[in-house]
């Protein structure tokens, strides 16, 4: 990586929440601006979508024919492509439409559906172009971005944080909400990185960081069943945010089929 790499932040189908990991970084944003050259970041006022860059951060999934063209150009123009967040990495909320009648949804949501041009499915970036690094989460946080950029500046790949949320939850000494309150916590199958936010406020993790390494989704699902969740509710726990992550999707489909 050269001394001051060029960086672009691109937005696809998404809520803009992951870009806030940069924008809300406070002092770190000032430091970052001194370490890299931000050449495209529409939300921050830098506009040069076609620029050749060293690092392209991609937020959002590919949902429209236009986005499909854009992602191919960006890949050609970027030495390294990093997806940020669930939409770009594993489909996100909007990919839920892939399992339903999209035309019906469009009609239900938009006043003038004839202006909406969609691909059949909404899919993560890696299904269209090669992705060099994935930052999971919905949304990702500043700590993840800072760690990734710092590692790349040092010339190494960032550490893949793939342990379970439980590990961090226990380091912070939160009382387990599943054991003490029968909450359907997804922490035991979910990737760390958030800082165990939900258990810290007494809530169940809803798996927004996607599957951890070695996720025993079957055992997790049976535990949820034991807590009284219906087959459909169990499927929804897995599909909610990261429905294109294979481990979650496959488990969900099993329970959906069982529910029918």
């Amino acid at each position: 990586m050269k001394m001051k790499p060029t960086v672009a932040v691109h937005k696809f189908s998404s809520c803009d929440g992951c870009q806030l990991a940069f924008l809300n970084a406070g002092e770190a944003l000032v430091t970052l601006a001194g370490l890299v050259d931000i050449v495209h970041f529409a939300e921050a006022g830098y506009l040069d979508e076609e620029a050749k860059v060293d690092i392209a951060f991609i937020e959002g999934s590919v949902s429209t024919p236009h986005e499909l063209e854009r992602i191919k150009t960006i890949r050609e123009n970027s030495a390294m492509v990093i997806t940020i967040g669930a939409c770009a990495t594993s489909g996100g909320l909007q990919a839920l439409r892939n399992m339903h009648d999209k035309d019906q949804w469009v009609e239900g949501v938009y006043a003038l559906p004839e202006y909406i041009e969609l691909l059949e499915d909404s899919r993560p970036i890696s299904e269209f172009v090669k992705v060099d690094l994935e930052l999971w989460g919905c949304p990702i946080n500043t700590r993840q971005v800072v760690a990734a950029v710092r590692a790349l500046l040092f010339g190494v790949l960032p550490v893949d944080e793939h342990d379970k949320v439980c590990q961090e939850c226990k380091r912070q000494q939160h009382v387990c909400v599943m054991v003490a309150k029968d909450e359907p916590c997804m922490g035991p199958v979910t990737r760390t990185g958030c800082g165990a936010i939900c258990p810290s406020v007494g809530r169940d993790c809803y798996a927004c960081y996607g599957p951890a390494e070695l996720p025993n989704t079957g055992a997790m699902a049976r535990r949820l069943e034991g807590l009284g969740l219906t087959s459909e509710a169990i499927a929804q726990r897995f599909l909610f945010i990261n429905n294109h992550a294979e481990a979650f999707r496959e488990e969900a489909i099993k329970w959906q089929e069982q529910g029918q």
Binding site: L35, R150, F154, K164, C166, R171, M178, A180, L214, N216
Partner: protein
């Protein structure tokens, strides 16, 4: 041999005042988010009066009634471990000075006088193991600093949980003479029978000028220790030492792995587990970095990742490492098994896997 004295519940604030005068910051288990968790305390009235725990595999509930006791429960999710072996802490920092040279700085914590009230006999047994691990051989400065100022007010168990099996490991429900407490309490309905186990304990007791415990009070304390012993439901297999080491290929490993989430909750709540990993946390500008030590677990992939190769890929291999290290291999390392029968890994396992039940299944059929 220290004398047994009696402190009535009515007068229990006097113990807190004495600790305060001696410069100790006191902590005791108090209800928080549905469990008993060590928290700072100044008033005897903040002890967990009337609290009870109900524990089963994968289940922990607190309830309260008008019991006159403060220790009518077994334990919470923490032992002493987080107090001494911090879940996450910087070991050292490094920064560039004006000449561009790297300067390293250790970050050892300062010793602090702390009194922990409500320590259980199994916690003391686990502490002895951690002392051997962190202070015997290579001395861990961070652990040592926290250990130094610690005063232990232990309470014998009168209400073991359904998950407890300290009788079977020999670590409870009453603390052994030389188990390292400063004060040891037996709680009766109207107060505490107390004895000292160290110089610091003797001094505190002398300051309180309490009456000797009556033979009747001593008999009640003995009686409830006996009852607590009789009441335990779980135990480890009698043939474990000879049978377990031979079970590396037992089909039960695959069976338990079907249920095990490999989440590491068991190792985190276990008072004897000591595994950790270390990582770098550089500042964004690259001019400084913190070297962190964090609790790790044999259920994580990093624990067995060696130079591009993951030694324990499957849940079965990881569960086997946990159980075998605790129950089969620990004696070689520390001269005893790595389990003190606290039952925490059973209650706090999200899917209720029971290490004692697994040990029985593995040892069935004897020496394979």
């Amino acid at each position: 041999m220290s004398q047994h004295v009696f402190l009535s519940h009515r007068d229990s604030q006097r113990l807190f005042d004495a600790l305060d005068r001696a410069g100790y910051q006191a902590q005791a288990p108090q209800p928080k988010d549905g469990a008993l968790v060590f928290s700072p305390i100044r008033q005897a009235s903040d002890l967990p009066w009337g609290q009870h725990d109900t524990q089963r595999p994968g289940h922990y509930r607190l309830s309260q009634d008008d019991s006159p006791r403060a220790f009518a429960w077994a334990n919470g999710p923490q032992a002493l471990k987080p107090q001494l072996f911090a879940p996450s802490e910087p070991l050292w920092q490094v920064a560039r000075d004006a000449d561009g040279k790297l300067r390293f700085q250790a970050c050892a914590p300062k010793p602090q006088k702390r009194a922990l009230i409500g320590v259980r006999p199994c916690d003391l047994a686990a502490l002895a193991i951690h002392d051997a691990h962190f202070l015997g051989g290579e001395r861990d400065g961070h652990y040592a600093a926290r250990r130094e100022g610690l005063l232990l007010v232990a309470v014998n168990c009168s209400h073991p949980a359904q998950t407890c099996f300290c009788v079977s490991t020999g670590d409870g429900p009453a603390a052994k003479e030389d188990s390292g407490y400063d004060l040891l309490l037996d709680e009766l309905d109207d107060g505490f029978v107390i004895r000292a186990g160290s110089g610091a304990g003797e001094q505190l007791l002398a300051g309180l000028a309490l009456e000797a415990a009556t033979p009747g009070q001593l008999a009640s304390a003995k009686g409830q220790q006996h009852q607590a012993t009789q009441g335990q439901l779980r135990h480890l297999p009698d043939n474990m030492a000879s049978a377990l080491p031979n079970q590396m290929t037992h089909p039960q490993w695959d069976k338990v792995a079907e249920r095990c989430l490999a989440c590491g909750n068991c190792t985190a709540v276990c008072p004897t587990c000591f595994c950790h990993s270390e990582r770098e946390q550089p500042a964004l500008d690259g001019a400084s970095s913190e070297h962190l030590r964090e609790w790790d677990s044999c259920f994580s992939s990093g624990h067995s990742y060696l130079h591009g190769h993951l030694v324990r890929e499957s849940g079965a291999q990881r569960y086997r490492q946990w159980l075998m290290h605790k129950l089969a291999w620990w004696p070689e390392q520390f001269g005893r098994i790595g389990c003190v029968g606290c039952g925490r890994c059973i209650s706090w396992c999200p899917v209720g896997i029971d290490i004692s039940a697994e040990a029985h299944l593995l040892c069935q059929g004897g020496e394979a």
